[in-house]
């Protein structure tokens, strides 16, 4: 399982990123991308254990194994969640400065990119990035806090 996880986690994260980027006109977007990215972390949690990320990947000493709320990773998830919701809200606000309604959007098409060749980058991407952060932050907080109980 650990062997599989090592390869699959990278693949999941790549697919999550591509889903996130193509979300404007094709299936995908911040929510789906975020959920998929979360499964990568969940796989690490299942294949190794709840403290693997903090102890082995980040090389930190664990304060205690009793309560997940004290963990720095959980703190980071909470921050990710907060930053995400702030980003989404502010991204919606930006069009007001141009005299457009809340959540208005526009796009540019980038050409000549490797692999993608042509990619539509919408201003909604900032909002989607916020959604992505909220989803990843919220689900991982729940997973690690409930998982530690």
């Amino acid at each position: 399982m650990r062997t599989t996880a090592r390869t699959v986690v990278t693949l999941i994260l790549l697919v999550a990123a591509s889903l996130f980027l193509q979300g404007h006109k094709q299936p995908g977007g911040g929510f789906i991308g975020g959920v998929l990215a979360t499964t990568a972390f969940a796989l690490v949690y299942v294949a190794y254990d709840l403290y693997f990320l903090e102890e082995r990947v980040l090389g930190r000493e664990l304060a205690s194994r009793d309560s997940a709320f004290g963990d720095r990773t959980v703190g980071a998830y909470l921050r990710l969640f907060t930053v995400g919701i702030a980003l989404a809200a502010v991204a919606g606000l930006a069009p007001l400065a141009f005299g457009l309604p809340y959540l208005s959007q526009t796009y540019v098409i980038l050409e000549g990119l490797p692999v993608y060749h042509e990619l539509e980058v919408a201003s909604a991407l900032a909002f989607d990035l916020g959604v992505f952060c909220v989803v990843v932050g919220a689900i991982l907080t729940v997973l690690s806090v409930v998982g530690a109980e």
């Binding site: 919701i85 702030a86 809200a89 606000l93 007001l96 309604p101 809340y102 959540l103 208005s104």
Partner: protein, 533 residues
């Protein structure tokens, strides 16, 4: 550009985000939260002024979120009805949040209390402002997410039990609502309320059949009744209200419950009333064959049952907030009775009067019940308990608390010159005009029960010998100031009732005048591809 329409939602959203970002600095967070609430009240004030209260109001105003035109995008509609509900929520919200700064004091409690409170406001405001049926469902969920956490806020066994019941019921409710919304889309081909209303008025032109709408709207009725806590969907109310922090309960009873009533009025009177059915119910007092006429008897029965169940439950409750929680069930019945009579009526004047009476009563209930729940909260933080058997002699220990309770209780009963008098008066007026003897009898019985349980609470808690716990109680000055402010508002609404009546009448007109609502939203004509007139 009518940014003022979206302003209440955005103010609350940004306050919530700011409070979340500041969750480690509790003092700064409280300051930001207070400032945000004031800004919210100001945004609501501007909206109400522009839409309804100004000498030259602009009337219903729309806002196309994201610049997508109706009916494709999500339209926000601010009309007098939404403005009336928002003002009610803002009043209770400011009082409740200022009160909370002295009620929720432990840092670990404070951290997420303030963000959640504002997310609750976001959900409630969104529900009042949206002009899209599916979006209404989304705002309901936003509101429910916040209230789920509040019910389980203290994390004890009884809180978890109450939350489980609350969550399970509301999940079923949400699933039913989603089903009904999907069905409405399949039937009418639109989710925009104005577009739906227009299509239902001319089903032949759009090739839709109106019969399924009756059943789907019945599903929605049960969902909204669940949110409002009408019998037979009332059983989550007492435990949830006792479990949540009491200032939030003031919000739940004063504001969140009213979202159910608002949704009933908005969808039935503005949207579903448009449909004409070939059959009608063979019942006395029911005219016409619109889904409105089908819904009237059901709502009436539920309202009558609520008055009875809530009243008797309150007489028997053993704690201060228990009395108030059961009383909320009964009072929602009082709001729903005139609305049901109005729904059954065929004359537009009586229909409008029914909605008007419901709205005025809702305002009175929000103010009075908000005051009473905050009185219970002040009692609990001063005395340490709110069980009626441990209380006694509060009025002699704190005459202020006693008088505030008296004002709230008398407003609930309906004594002039308080706000409750006009609510009761209009409800009786509607019942008498519709010659509904049953309604008059139930209203009388309900009033009798209200007198009984408020008197009982007064006797147990405020009258008589001071109990040991009460003898050492001191009321926090900030809490006292909030209570006095609310009590004065109740008196002011009662004494200067005329502008309130005009506001409520404008709101009732906005609810029943379908044509004006459709014109304001002016959804593009999808079928013909052209601009609508």
């Amino acid at each position: 550009m009518s940014t003022f329409v979206v302003a209440p939602i955005l103010t609350a959203l940004f306050t919530a985000v700011t409070a979340l970002l500041l969750h480690r600095r509790t003092r700064l967070q409280t300051a930001a939260s207070l400032a945000g609430t004031v800004a919210y009240a100001a945004a609501v004030g501007v909206l109400a002024w522009r839409v309804a209260l100004a000498p030259d109001p602009v009337g219903a105003t729309t806002y196309q979120v994201g610049g997508w035109p109706a009916p494709f995008g999500i339209t926000l509609v601010a009309d007098a009805l939404a403005a009336f509900m928002l003002v009610m929520v803002a009043t209770v919200g400011v009082a409740s949040l200022v009160f909370s700064t002295r009620y929720v004091e432990a840092p670990e409690e404070k951290r997420f209390y303030h963000p959640l409170f504002h997310f609750l406001l976001v959900g409630v405001s969104g529900a009042f402002l949206t002009g899209d049926v599916f979006n209404l469902f989304v705002w309901f969920e936003v509101m429910l997410m916040a209230s789920y956490v509040f019910v389980v806020f203290y994390g004890g066994p009884q809180h978890t039990r109450a939350a489980l019941r609350y969550v399970a019921l509301n999940l079923v409710g949400s699933a039913l609502m989603l089903l009904a919304v999907g069905g409405l889309y399949a039937t009418t081909g639109t989710l925009n309320m104005a577009d739906m209303s227009r299509r239902l008025a001319e089903p032949a032109a759009y090739g839709i059949s109106v019969e399924p709408v009756v059943g789907l709207s019945a599903l929605l009725l049960s969902v909204f009744a669940l949110k409002a806590g009408l019998v037979p969907f009332q059983f989550w109310v007492p435990s949830a209200y006792r479990a949540a922090p009491l200032p939030v309960t003031a919000m739940l009873a004063g504001a969140t419950k009213k979202v159910g009533i608002y949704a009933l009025v908005r969808l039935y009177f503005t949207v579903f009333a448009a449909a004409e059915l070939p059959v009608s119910l063979p019942l006395p007092g029911v005219d016409g064959g619109s889904p409105l006429a089908f819904f009237a008897p059901a709502l009436f029965l539920m309202a009558v049952a609520s008055v009875v169940v809530g009243g008797f439950g309150a007489v028997d409750a053993d704690s201060f907030e228990g009395v108030l929680a059961y009383s909320s069930i009964g009072q929602i019945g009082f709001i729903a009775i005139p609305v049901a009579i109005g729904a059954a009526a065929s004359s537009p004047a009586l229909r409008r009067l029914g909605v008007l009476a419901g709205l005025v009563y809702a305002l009175n209930h929000a103010l009075a019940k908000g005051t009473l729940f905050l009185t219970a909260a002040a009692t609990r933080s001063a005395v340490g308990t709110s069980r009626l058997e441990d209380l006694g002699g509060l009025a002699s220990r704190s005459p202020l608390l006693g008088s505030v309770f008296l004002v709230g209780a008398l407003a609930l009963v309906g004594i002039p010159p308080l706000s409750g008098f006009f609510g009761k008066f209009l409800a009786f007026d509607v019942a008498v005009r519709a010659e509904a003897a049953v309604a008059v009898a139930v209203l009388l019985l309900g009033t009798g029960l209200t007198i009984a349980y408020t008197t009982r609470a007064w006797n147990r808690a405020f009258w008589g010998q001071q109990s040991a716990a009460v003898g050492a109680a001191d009321v926090d000055p900030v809490q006292a100031a909030v209570l006095v402010g609310l009590a004065l508002t109740i008196v002011a609404v009662g004494v200067g009732f005329d502008p309130v009546y005009e506001f409520a009448e404008a709101a009732a007109r906005a609810a029943t005048d379908r044509g004006a609502y459709v014109d304001a939203v002016d959804p593009a004509d999808v079928e013909t591809g052209g601009e609508s007139a």
